[in-house]
Symmetry: C2
Amino acid sequence: MSKARCSYHHGDLRNALIVAAAELIERDGTLDFTMAEAATRAGVSAAAPYRHFADKEELLRGVRELAILGLGHAAGETVSEHPNGSLEGILAMGHMYLDYARDKHAFFSLMWEDRGDIEERREKVAEEHGGFMVLVNMVQAYCDAHGNTQVNSLHLATQIWSMGHGIATLEANQLINLFDRSIEPEALLDQSVRTMLAGVVGAAA
Amino acid sequence: MSKARCSYHHGDLRNALIVAAAELIERDGTLDFTMAEAATRAGVSAAAPYRHFADKEELLRGVRELAILGLGHAAGETVSEHPNGSLEGILAMGHMYLDYARDKHAFFSLMWEDRGDIEERREKVAEEHGGFMVLVNMVQAYCDAHGNTQVNSLHLATQIWSMGHGIATLEANQLINLFDRSIEPEALLDQSVRTMLAGVVGAAA
DNA sequence: TTCGGATGTTAATAATATTTACATTTAATG
DNA sequence: CATTAAATGTAAATATTATTAACATCCGAA
């Protein structure tokens, strides 16, 4: 009875609802789908979701987990396509992040928004945020490759993440080139990352 | 009749509603005040706001303008407290931005969120976003002071802004130290800014 | 003075989230 | 195998808000 849809009980409604909600978010580009539509899409009545989620916020948190895992997966793909410890790998990671922010804006903001569950999230860092660890490893490998063992790679990775996050966030909201239409987000990010690595690790520029 | 409250007509309801909404956002730390409460606070009925704003979104856009002007004002204050073209001035600007993001989280996110009015915003850049221009001038002065005339200060200011924006956004959502509790946002930002300036302009570190 | 438009009011209307009361199914227990 | 409590669904309320409709008042121009 783990995959029934034949009768009264769904079998895997919680996940089905998360997927349904994600599809609606994907379709509309916003988080304001209705609970009723998500329920219908999952093949149940409007009240059924409340057996699995206290409220819409909780469902959104479920979708968020899915999105975070997806981004982590993309990070894994990206790293596997480039030489270990290479600059290009780190830059590619930035481009991937930028693409994600642009193409899946609603998921991107949902992912980082505070929804009053910080403590809960802290506990799930390891299982959810593999993506960041991928970056940390890339940075570490880069430092190693450049013979620098003094660098705190977690710290440096956080600096690079926040640079990418800032550009991605602004770009997703069409603000990065608000003052100068000629600015190219990827070029800007590449240059920022190069400068940061050159300044902290040496070489790279 | 520009400031009446005596009789039937309010006199300046549009602005009063923006202020009322801003107070509610300040009070609750969220954007989900009700139109009715904003109206009551402004001393009018629940339907009155619709004579001035098509919907809640439009009222929020009004509040956003106010917030952006406020941040611009803070930028002006900050720059006036430090030597022209100094590194400390630029760092102070970053701290101010970080403080704003933390203390006025709801306004901060409202400010940068896309609310489907990009074109409209582009037209108001000059009148609204004096704050960014303050940063551009600081960066320009910094470059001048370091005898570097090759730098595109608009470009460099955008890089610095996006770094600060990334850190501020993550910090406001309590995510910047998700992986390493020991990270201090201001220190991280200071170091990033120094590295960027040193890498692009020279000196500074 | 008088009339039209702007701005307010109160009373609907509508869309949604969420709860309630009841139904069905599952799974453990004797 | 029969029984029953817990889990999971359903349909029919409720409640909260945004928003609109229909009507009232006021201000400024002709």
